[in-house]
């Protein structure tokens, strides 16, 4: 998936000289996850460069560049480090078009690795997507595989508005399904690991049905798509798994069509439960599908604690917890 993300930036930089890439360790070294490796050598230091350790500075400068007419795609090293930039994202990037009546706009992408599963403790494991979906003026994207990551990132870079691009870091090397005691299949052996050369986009706001089913709809994104797949296989429940891909704008039509078909719904995310994006999903399902529901809509999420270190796998909502929710929803 790292190669796909790099390829998306490479393709975009090659097609449009307004695209610039910068962030901490992003230039010469190519990023701590190597997502920008080779871009500085290929496009020069004016197009890809190292930034001081100042997330607010990185995003603030990107906003100024976008106002000038460039299309910056910046990296925040971990989503856990984005908070110093939150004011710039919320009060500035998200609001610039609206407050200036499109006199100035802000076509930036803020990329950041998100989620846990790597023993990163509370400062390298968080999933802050709900902090962005709550902000009018932003788009929030969470890819779950290399093919999507490339198409969605190119679409995000080409989008005329600011996009928060959350990369589930546990998926960088393969479709991790929550079974931390088993080896992960590398992307090279997975059908979605196949990434087409050159330019293609996946439109923002379109979900994908990863597994057809008739018994229950699972709404998931990022790493949880594979956890849900494992849970469905292991419980033998005929779940339909929807990979949301873009949280905002949300593909409500796909969600509603599926829940009306199955009559049951389980919402899964790695982020903490309370006021998480799952709460929004449950509300929408309730508002749009109430008379089709045969069971309460369930949520499986991270516990409402800071992300712990030693207790990583007790915290992480793995296939056992998701499977339990599937069984309970079927029995309700």
């Amino acid at each position: 998936m790292i190669e796909a993300i790099r390829d998306a930036m490479d393709v975009s930089m090659g097609r449009d000289e307004r695209v610039v890439v910068f962030g901490e360790d992003v230039g010469f070294f190519g990023g701590v996850f190597r997502c920008t490796q080779g871009l500085q050598a290929k496009y020069g230091k004016s197009r890809c460069f190292d930034a001081p350790i100042s997330e607010s500075g990185i995003v603030g400068a990107a906003i100024g560049m976008a106002a000038y007419g460039l299309k910056p795609c910046v990296e925040v090293q971990f989503a856990d480090y984005v908070y110093p930039a939150y004011d710039q994202i919320v009060s500035e990037a998200a609001r610039l078009r609206y407050r200036s009546n499109s006199d100035f706009t802000c076509p930036i992408v803020v990329r950041m690795p998100t989620g846990g599963g790597i023993f990163g403790g509370q400062t390298h494991s968080q999933s802050p997507e709900a902090l962005f979906t709550h902000v009018s003026g932003l788009k929030t994207v969470v890819p779950s595989n290399p093919h999507d990551a490339k198409g969605l990132l190119i679409a995000a870079i080409e989008d005329p508005d600011p996009v928060i691009f959350l990369e589930p870091k546990r998926l960088y090397n393969g479709p991790f399904d929550g079974h931390h005691d088993r080896p992960v299949t590398p992307w090279s052996k997975h059908e979605l690991g196949e990434v087409a050369d050159g330019h293609y986009t996946i439109p923002l706001g379109k979900a994908a049905i990863r597994r057809q089913g008739s018994a229950v709809t699972v709404l998931a994104y990022g790493t949880m798509v594979y956890v849900a797949e494992a849970a469905a296989e292991e419980t033998g429940i005929d779940a339909e798994i929807i990979d949301l891909r873009t949280l905002l704008p949300l593909d409500l039509d796909t969600i509603v069509a599926s829940v009306k078909k199955t009559g049951r719904c389980v919402v899964v995310h790695e982020a903490t439960l309370t006021s998480g994006f799952g709460a929004e999903l449950v509300s929408l399902v309730q508002e749009n599908c109430f008379y089709h529901l045969e069971a309460p809509v369930a949520r499986v999420a991270g516990w409402d604690t800071p992300y712990p270190h030693a207790q990583e796998w007790e915290y992480f909502p793995g296939p056992a917890r998701v499977g339990r929710a599937l069984v309970e929803t079927m029995e309700a």
Binding site: S54, G57, I63, D87, S102, L248
Partner: protein, 410 residues
């Protein structure tokens, strides 16, 4: 040497509070003309003392003296005077309109008119300002129509910002005026980013960042200085020190640093202080800093030493925290009076002509106000539509906003 005993907590206090006698004896004012004018490619390390002095051109006799004088023609000076007078009259009328309930909020420039009016004239078309809420002189001096400003202040049907923004948070790309946020200091690093983009694009345009003394405490100010210094961005980093951040005196943000200009020294950025009430000095220093940016010599930090004569905003009453007569005691005088006296001294202006100009300007501002009010004020007459509220959040309205707009019945 103090004892290492019980620790004591220190909170700075201004010299005087309400009821006291204003005292600016601690503000050292160098003589006009006394600060040298270095070459623009000077080694920043050799001019560190300029961060602790004040560049001044106009002396008490109304003469322009010293190495920073002589850059502007009589015509340009007369135009500058007119810009400052216009801004002052505009402010007075809009402040009154706010009191009359025609808008919710207003912020005036009283005492600080020279800073933005003179700076604008040193820029070229295409350069970009990232202003705070107290630089409307950038628009006035660039010929932006007053009626457009008023339409924005009134949030009326002709408001270029469709009623979405608080009064005076103007935006005009065409006039090199970046959309004002209302959040503090965020624009400072954005200005540096814009300047970096201009350099990346091998352009010739430069950026100007604006901030007040109080907001230099925000982390975005420091991020901006790091980025500007690291990438030698073509930007002028302006700090308007008007002594007061609402009720907080400048010592709370400045701390132990002698001046705000001195903040730039640790970043290796040439840092100058200038008499912010001296139109000629502001213009000369702006030109110097802008020229440096234009010639790839990198950023310059400029502190404008001035005084906020009026309240912070229409919601503020300064008599609660500073002596009423403090502005009269301000040692750098009034920018309009000082330029007027200079022009009279030069024999190109007179008290009579000044009075006449005041009347003409007032008539122009009132005419603009009448036109603006024909499009409505905040609570009366034409206003932006409810549909406008839903537009422009994104380039293309996403489905959830379309649904909400339908729910709102528009």
């Amino acid at each position: 040497m103090p004892d290492a005993g019980m620790l004591r907590f220190h909170v700075p206090e201004p010299e005087v509070r309400p009821g006291g006698t204003p005292d600016f004896s601690n503000v050292t004012i160098p003589k006009a003309g006394s600060v040298p004018r270095p070459e623009i490619d000077v080694d920043p390390r050799t001019i560190r003392d300029m961060a602790f002095s004040i560049i001044r051109v106009l002396n008490r006799a109304g003469e322009a003296v010293g190495p920073w004088a002589g850059l502007l023609t009589d015509e340009e000076l007369l135009q500058g005077l007119r810009h400052m007078m216009t801004l002052r009259t505009f402010d007075a009328r809009m402040q009154m309109a706010q009191r009359q309930g025609k808008t919710s909020f207003y912020m005036q420039h009283l005492g600080e008119e020279a800073v933005s009016c003179a700076f604008r004239k040193a820029l070229k078309p295409g350069d970009m300002n990232f202003p705070t809420y107290r630089q409307a002189g950038l628009l006035i001096a660039d010929g932006y129509p007053m009626v457009m400003m008023m339409n924005q202040i009134y949030s009326n049907e002709a408001d270029p910002l469709k009623g979405r923004q608080l009064p005076i948070m103007y935006s005009s790309k065409e006039h090199g005026f970046f959309s004002i946020s209302g959040n503090l200091a965020t624009q400072y690093i954005q200005a540096v980013g814009w300047a970096m983009a201009s350099a990346i694009s091998n352009d010739s345009r430069i950026a100007a960042a604006w901030i007040g003394d109080g907001s230099t405490a925000e982390s975005d100010f420091h991020a901006a200085l790091v980025f500007a210094s690291t990438y030698k961005a073509p930007v002028v980093l302006n700090v308007v020190n008007n002594q007061w951040a609402i009720s907080t005196f400048q010592g709370i943000a400045r701390g132990g640093s002698g001046t705000f200009a001195a903040r730039g020294l640790g970043f290796g950025i040439p840092s100058l202080r200038v008499d912010g009430n001296d139109y000629l000095a502001v213009h000369a220093v702006a030109k110097w800093a802008i020229e440096r940016a234009r010639r790839n010599l990198g950023p310059t930090l400029v502190e404008y030493v001035t005084y906020r004569v009026g309240a912070h905003s229409s919601s503020d009453d300064p008599s609660a925290y500073r002596p009423k007569a403090e502005s009269d005691a301000w040692p750098l005088g009034d920018p309009v009076v000082r330029l007027k006296n200079h022009l009279i001294h030069k024999g190109v202006w007179s008290e009579d002509r000044h009075t006449q100009a005041e009347a003409e300007i007032l008539a122009t501002v009132i005419a603009a106000q009448k036109e603006a009010e024909s499009h409505g004020t905040l609570h009366a007459g034409g206003k932006p539509s409810t549909r406008d509220m839903f537009e422009g959040v994104y380039a293309e309205m996403p489905p959830h906003l379309r649904r909400q707009r339908q729910q709102a019945g528009v």
